[in-house]
Symmetry: D2
Subunit: 228 residues, 4 copies
C-alpha cells in the first residue's frame, strides 16, 4: 500500500502512452531512467506505463507506478477490460483517470476514484479547463492534472500559453476541496516550464512525449527539475 506522505511535492508523473519508445522492453528502460533521475534529484518521479508493461517494471524497479486507465467494471465477464484488482495485483500504486485520450464518463471517474481512495492509492484525474478541474476536485482525488487538449503533444507549455487556466484551476480546486493537489500537464518539457508551473501554484507536472522522445530521457528529466 502506498503511503501518501511519501508523495512529497513537487511530483513528476510520466505518462508512457503507447509510443514505441515507451513500450515493452523500452518501457522498462524508460522506467529505469525515471527511477535513476528521481534518486539523483531527490524529486518524486512516477511512471505510468501500459497495462501489459506494469508487471515487468514492478519486478525490476522500485518506482511508483500508475496505470493509465482502469475500466469501470467489477470482477466477472468483461473480456478485454483492465480490472482494478488485476492491476493492483501486478503492482500499481494508483492510476491516471480521464486522460484526454481516454475520456471517461463522469459516473465512472467517480466510481474508480472512490475505489482508489478506499485502497489508499493515488488517483490523478485529468481535466481540460477550470470548470472540469472543479468538477474533478468534487470527486476527491489525490491530484487533478489540468491539460488543455489543444496543447497536448505540441511542446507549447500550458504554463506559458494559458497560465490563467493553471492559476484558475489551482484557486478554484482549492475552494472545492483543499486536499486536492493540482498538476500541470500539456506541453511541459523544460526546466523553465516546470518552474513556471510551480510558480502558478501547481504541485507537479504530468509529462509525456517531451521526455519519452528525448535522446536521453534521464538527462531531460534532470533538466526538467533543475530550476525548482
Amino acid at each position: 500500500m502506498i503511503q501518501l506522505y511519501k508523495l512529497k511535492s513537487p511530483i513528476v508523473i510520466l505518462n508512457f502512452k503507447t509510443y514505441l519508445e515507451s513500450s515493452g522492453e523500452n518501457a522498462l528502460n524508460l522506467a529505469k531512467a525515471l527511477e535513476s533521475a528521481g534518486e539523483e534529484s531527490g524529486i518524486t518521479m512516477v511512471a505510468s506505463p501500459q497495462a501489459a508493461d506494469i508487471y515487468r517494471i514492478k519486478d525490476e524497479t522500485s518506482i511508483l507506478l500508475l496505470s493509465q486507465h482502469i475500466d469501470p467494471i467489477s470482477p466477472g465477464g468483461n473480456t478485454g477490460a483492465n480490472l482494478f484488482e488485476t492491476l493492483l495485483d501486478n503492482g500499481i500504486d494508483g492510476s491516471l483517470l480521464n486522460h484526454s485520450e481516454k475520456r471517461m464518463e463522469l459516473a465512472d471517474i467517480d466510481l474508480i476514484t472512490q475505489k482508489l481512495n478506499e485502497n489508499q492509492l493515488i488517483s490523478c484525474i485529468c481535466s481540460n479547463n477550470v470548470s472540469t478541474s472543479m468538477a474533478a476536485a468534487s470527486l476527491n482525488p489525490t491530484f487533478v492534472a489540468i491539460e488543455p487538449p489543444e496543447l497536448i503533444g505540441t511542446g507549447i507549455p500550458v504554463s506559458k500559453a494559458e497560465p490563467e487556466v493553471v492559476e484558475g484551476s489551482v484557486k478554484n480546486v482549492r475552494k472545492i476541496n483543499k486536499d486536492v493537489k493540482v498538476l500541470c500537464g500539456a506541453g511541459i518539457s523544460t526546466g523553465e516550464d516546470m518552474a513556471q508551473a510551480i510558480e502558478l501554484g501547481a504541485e507537479g507536472v504530468l509529462l509525456a512525449s517531451g521526455i519519452i522522445k528525448a535522446d536521453n530521457p534521464k538527462e531531460a528529466l534532470l533538466d526538467l527539475v533543475s530550476k525548482i
Copy 2:
C-alpha cells in the same frame, strides 16, 4: 513467432475474462493448470489472460498466449490503450477479437486481423450467429468462434441448444474461406459438450467460466477432452 502447424486440431482456448479466479497470481496458476492438462492430454491448450497478466505467464510457462483484445491504434498518443506491439513484446501469440463482451467495429476487426496475419499470429474472431460468422470469415482470420450471446455463462452448451448455428457456421464459413476454422463457444464445459461440438464440425472450443470456476480446473480440462 508462432508456427501455425503447431496448432493441431482440436484446440482448446480458455478465455480468462476478468474473474478474480483468473486474475493476477490466480491467472498464473490457471495457466499452469492449462499447460499441465495440455501436456497430459496431448491436446493444444491456449490461454487468453488479461493484458496485465501476460508477461508473468509468459515468463513462467510455455503455453500459447492470446490477448483478449487489441485496440485499433498505431503507436503514439493513446493513453490507456492496449497496443499490438506492446502485447507482442510481452509474449502474445495472437488475440481474441470481437468477443461479445468487447464487440469491435467491423473496420477495426479487419485492421487488427490483418496486423495479426502479417505477423503470422493467431486471430480468433468471435461471432454471434451464422451471418456474422460468414462476415468474420471474409476477413481471413485463423479462427471464427461462434458464441450465441444468450448462452454465454449459462452452462447451456451451444452444441446442444443451437446445433444448427454451429453446423450452419461451419458450412457457410467453409464456402467463404475454406482455410478458416470454426470453434464452438458459449456454455461448453463437459467432455460430452466438446465431443458434440467436434461432431458438428468445429475444430475446437472457446471456454471460460465453466473451467475458471471449477474446483479443480486441470481435472475439468482433462474431463473436457476425455471423449474426443
Copy 3:
C-alpha cells in the same frame, strides 16, 4: 429563446425515453397530455422526446421541449449524430445531459452545458450520487437531476428509498453554486413522491416510465402534482 424566469418552480420534466408509448404519433399524444395537465394545474411541465419526434411536437403544441441528449460535435462531417444547431432549429428549449442511459464524458458535459448557457437554454445534467451532483453543479447548468441508477424504472422513489442522497445533493450543490436547482428523479410517480421530493429541497422532478406507461398519463400527471 427560452426566458428562464418562466420556469417557475416546481417543475416537472417527462423523459420520453424510447418506449413505444412515447414514440412517433404516441409521442405527440403524450406531449398534448402533458401540455393539458400543465395548463390545468398551473405547474410547469416540460417534454423530453426523441430527436426525430421534436419537430412534430413543436409544430402542434406550445410545450417546453428538451432533447434527451446532444452530441459533443460541431457542424460538419458527423454522420448519425444529433447536432445542437439542428435540434435548436427544430424547436428545443434545452436538453437533458448525461442521463444514466446515455452517460457522457466529463469534458463533453461541460462543452454542451456551455453551449446551452450561451444560448440561454435549459441544461439538466443527470447525476447518480452526491459527489457527481457536486461535479455537475461545478459546470453551471440550470438543473442537476439526481437519479440513483439502481432505482430507475423500479417505481421505488428515491425520495423515500434514499432521502439522504437528495438532501445531500441539495445541500452540497448549493455550496458549489447556489444558482443551480436540484431535481429529483428515479422512481417518482405519485403525488406523495413529489411532495416528499419538494420537502427534501428539490425544485421539481424528472419522470419517465411511471407516467409514460400509465393508463391515463394526464390523470397520472395531475395526481403527481396534487399534493404540493
Copy 4:
C-alpha cells in the same frame, strides 16, 4: 412500405451529415433540390438527413428518406437513442449503416440490417475496403457503399484514386451475394466521377459535402448524372 423495384439503378444517395448547409430549414431546402433534380433527370435520388429533420422533410416532399444511423436497441429505457420504430413512424424508407463517421459493431450491423430487411426497407452498409465489403455483403443488405476513409471529404474520387477497390468490391460482393448492389462513395462530385463509378460496376453513388456545399446543389446534382 418501400417497393424495392422502384429503386432502379443507377441511384444517387445524398448523406446530409451535420453541415449547417444541410441542417434544419436548410435540410428541407436541400431535400427539395434533390427531389427536383431527381424528377428532371429521371434518376432515383435519395436523401439521408439527420434524425431531427426527417419528419419535416417527409411532410413537405415525397423523396425517399434514409436515416443516417439506427441505434441497436429495442423499445424501452434508452434515453438519447434513435429507435428504429420512431424513425419509421416519422417516415424513413431505410437507413445508412456503419458510415465511417459512425462505425458500428459487427453484430449490431447484422441486427439492424435484419430489422430493415424484415420490414422491406433499404439498408446501405458502408465499408472501407474489399474485405469489409465482403463482410458487409454476408449480412444481406440492399447496398454496400464502398468509401475508403482516407478519401472522404477530399474531393478526390475513389473511382479515380483507387479503382481497384471499387472493382474488387463489385467482384467479391457478387461472389458472396449476387443480390447486393455496390455503391461508390468518397470524393464523388462530378459527372465524370459518377460515369467512372458506373463503368467500374457500381450501381450508384453515395455523396455528401461535394453537393451539400455546392453553390447550387440542384445544378451540381444534374451535372453529376449528366454523363450516364
